[in-house]
Amino acid sequence: MKLHINGTVRDVEEPGDTPLLWVLRDELGLVGTKFGCGMAQCGACTVHLDGKPTRSCVLPAASVGDRHVTTIEGLSKDGPHAVQKAWLEADVVQCGYCQSGQLMTAAALIEAKPDPTDNDIDAAMSGNVCRCGTYQRVREAIHLAAKIRKGAAK
């Protein structure tokens, strides 16, 4: 099977019912995408599928088809993404394990809603669990990222 990942086509040998997460991590060595729950409850495994945030731990690799997969490793192809800049500025991370997923969901959010409200953030981000409790700074960083993105677009 062939998968479009971070702008390149990768050959994959694992059976098609293997979740995309484990193809990324174990076969392709893209370990920035994390395993947290295995049942789409925590968001640590979030990747983009044609730009849409998707839980890779429950997605059979074969069902990806021609859609383009972007992982945290591919988020910053033209220098740091607005969310990554904002994450640094707001000093968001603690243990960091959930942050790839948080960033991927946040990046998709500000793409879909360039000026997200707190309610938008609640709706988009509540599927991403952080046991360290970085939520408050995640929220601040998303507002900041939206500003950075708009500034860059000008």
Binding site: E27, K34, M39, L88, Q99, D122, Q136
Partner: protein, 720 residues
């Protein structure tokens, strides 16, 4: 030391560098020695300062690498310890980076005599040692520079790693090689706090860049050629034993290579996780149920209530409680209940082990390197020094990754030994939630006699719950006369009770098959709730404002009074909140710090919503305001998870919950706005990773009472 450094590959990593500069501490500058002695408490034997160390490396490219004797699990050791060194070294912060130290005697924590991270102790416990290392390095570098420039060190100035003498400048990197050859000073003088440029200043984390682009390596991310993945079938109930298993279907799964026994279960070893997991699912195992049927929650709660009818082993006993109770003007008798809790760090447990030529390499995220090293050595029959522990970033610890039994590490070592292969175990979330080492379940029975003004005159407090320390290496220190200090911490010596002339705290420690462990803030997770809710009930009974009642009891306790007043003021205590909301407060001292919290809540369709939490924190002094704020916010979130959701229940020894759908974590939409106000009291420094966890549940429960009139006395909080 040398093994540590060469293995870590410092020299190799800094390409082109041949020079490493280590600060030789020798017998140790006096200040650090004194600190080590002072910090050693009764808890453990003091470790003399290491004869030499590798805490600091300065490259000829001016890079400064700090080796961390403590694990980074989110609490920001990666930043706080380098800040301490930088303060004294006066190096360029932009050139500072951190690395986990390997497991070695030199990195043992003077406070506990072992290499470990826990007890919210790393920053204040290393406050003198790490500063002294920085000061010693600076002394040597200046001496080397003075020689080169034909002058004396006192005529040199230094700023951000650049040494200036008149018009001449030298960088630290340029004199590192010569400095390394100089004899160490007998003493060094640490800076006057008024001259601090780093300590106390908001400093962004050094580990952010790698944690936002996916390159940070956690134990889960360890990969190398030949490494297999093992997924283990463990007993489905605590106390159950393996009888037999059939692995034929498991071995038929594509990618599965071996199936081996561990002490408790069966491990499926495969070329990757998914194959190993499918293999485990295909195992047919016969388990023998626990002889006593196993723990069932309802039955256990009834047993706890029976035990609570009588005093247990005596922890605190002052005055004649029974007589004082009998003659009191009034009395309240209340029970507070607490369930078992899993830590549920975001990174499920994992551990990679390789055994080759008599040496063992272990890659994992751990809080307890010294215990782990000894435990792995025992499995392989080698010396502890033949076990190299590579501490990876911890995807959360909260106590679960600091187990004196090294459970997940020993298991991985057993599998590596049995298969003869390098393996990495990966736990699923279900394995984690059902895997034990929980915060124990507790019951508190609190009986308080009051005088005619409603102030307590007799306090009888019975605690029932498993001992965390019993049967472990800390039992001798922590369990006194049958009382595990960690089960009753914050009760007998609670400042509210100082003026109460008759008080008794006693403890029943029933044994079960469920393994238990410390969970962020340990005993305070339940003792603070019982104390702060009981005090709130007493205030209400006395017809007093909860703040005024607390202040009256805490008279003379300046730090407590100041924290309460500050939190109350910043939360606008005394002014009515928005319609449909109410406020509640709590204060608790733990890990040497005092935290007061005011929570503002509402109830929406029977669901408790926490809108804001105002915290006043006195941890003596702040090293990194950004780090303190993050730890307080995080602790509130962690405590709020337990307040609103956390509960494990058991049937015949089997945990009913299994994953985040039924063992719910706090989510973004539930996160209150947490305001953090620090008090620079100048008191002895305390911890910050845990102390804000305990006050949130009672603050919320007291707010819910203020709003609804319902006293919720067990966690998680559930409205009638």
């Amino acid at each position: 030391m040398s093994a540590a450094v060469s293995r870590r590959g410092f020299l190799g990593q800094a390409a082109g560098l041949a020079i490493a500069f280590y600060v030789p501490l020798g017998s140790g500058p006096k200040v650090a020695q004194a600190a080590a002695e002072k910090g050693a408490k009764a808890a453990a034997k003091a470790v003399p300062l290491p004869p030499a160390n590798a805490f600091l490396h300065i490259g000829t490219d001016d890079s400064v690498t700090v080796l961390l004797a403590h694990s980074e699990m989110g609490q920001s050791m990666w930043t706080a310890l380098p800040m301490l060194i930088t303060e004294e070294l006066e190096c360029d912060w932009s050139k500072v980076r951190a690395e986990h130290a390997p497991a070695a005697d030199v990195y043992k924590f003077p406070m506990f005599g072992m290499q470990m991270t826990g007890g919210s102790s790393s920053t204040y416990g290393e406050f003198d040692r790490y500063r002294t290392i920085g000061a010693t390095a600076k002394h040597l570098l200046l001496e080397a520079a003075a020689k080169r420039l034909h002058t004396t060190p006192d005529r040199l100035t230094v700023d951000k790693g650049v040494i200036t003498f008149g018009k001449q400048t030298l960088t630290y990197g340029q004199v590192a090689e010569e400095a390394m050859k100089l004899p160490q000073p007998a003493t060094v003088k640490l800076k006057d706090p008024k001259d601090w440029k780093v300590i106390g200043h908001p400093t962004k984390r050094l580990d952010s860049p790698e944690k936002i682009d996916g390159t940070a390596k956690f134990g889960m991310d360890v990969q190398f050629p030949g490494l297999r993945t093992a997924v283990v079938a463990r007993p489905p109930a605590f106390g159950a034993k393996l009888v037999s298993y059939d692995d034929s279907a498991a071995l038929a799964v594509r990618g599965v290579e071996k199936v081996v026994r561990t002490t408790d279960g069966v491990a499926v070893v495969a070329k990757n996780f998914w194959a190993a997991k499918l293999g485990r699912d295909a195992l047919k195992i016969q388990w023998q149920q626990p002889a006593d049927g196993g723990v069932s929650t309802a039955k256990q709660i009834a047993e706890f209530h029976d035990l609570a009818k009588k005093p247990g082993a005596i922890g605190t006993n002052k005055g004649d409680v029974d007589a004082a109770m009998a003659s009191a003007a009034g009395k309240i008798e209340v029970d507070y209940g607490f369930p078992y809790l899993a830590h549920a760090p975001m990174e499920p447990l994992n551990c990679a082990v390789k055994f080759e030529n008599g040496k063992v390499d272990v890659w994992t995220g751990t809080q307890f390197q010294t215990f782990d090293q000894v435990a792995v050595a025992k499995v392989f029959g080698v010396k502890p020094t033949d076990v190299d522990i590579h501490t990876m970033f911890l995807g959360g610890g909260f106590g679960r990754r600091g187990n004196p039994k090294s459970d997940w590490i020993v298991e991985a070592a057993e599998i590596a030994k049995a298969t003869g292969l390098p393996i990495k175990t990966v736990w699923t979330r279900e394995d984690d939630i059902r895997g034990g080492y929980y915060r124990p379940s507790y019951l508190h029975r609190v009986t308080v006699g009051v005088d005619s003004r409603g102030m307590p005159v007799a306090w009888d407090h019975v605690v029932v719950g498993q001992s965390i320390m019993a049967g472990g290496p800390m039992e001798a220190i922590m369990v006194k006369h049958g009382v595990d200090e960690s089960s009753v911490e914050g009760l007998g010596d609670n400042p509210y009770l100082e003026s109460v002339s008759a008080k008794r705290v006693s403890l029943h420690s029933p044994k079960t098959d469920i393994p238990v462990l410390w969970w962020r803030s340990v005993g305070n997770t339940h003792t603070a709730f019982a104390m702060e809710c009981a005090i709130d009930e007493l205030a209400h009974r006395a017809g007093k404002d909860p703040l005024a009642y607390r202040l009256a009891l805490l008279e003379g306790k300046t730090r407590h009074v100041n924290a309460l007043k500050l939190a109350a003021a910043r939360a606008s205590w005394g002014t009515p909140p928005e319609k449909g909301r109410a406020r509640g407060m709590a204060i608790h001292e733990s890990f040497g710090s005092i935290v007061a919290e005011v929570a503002e809540v509402s109830v929406d369709n029977g669901v408790i919503r926490v809108h804001s939490v105002t915290c006043a924190v006195d941890c003596g002094g702040v090293v990194n305001p950004l780090g303190v704020e993050a730890q307080v916010q995080g602790s509130v979130a962690f405590g709020l998870t337990a307040a609103l959701h956390g509960e494990l229940t058991f049937e015949n020894g089997h945990a009913k919950q299994s994953n985040f759908h039924d063992y719910k974590p706090l989510r973004m939409y539930e996160m209150p706005v947490v305001a953090v106000h620090t008090i620079d009291s100048g008191a002895k420094r305390g911890g910050i990773g845990e102390p804000s966890t305990a006050p949130i549940a009672p603050a919320v429960a007291n707010a819910v009472f203020a709003l609804t009139g319902q006293r919720l006395r067990s966690l998680p909080l559930r409205l009638a």
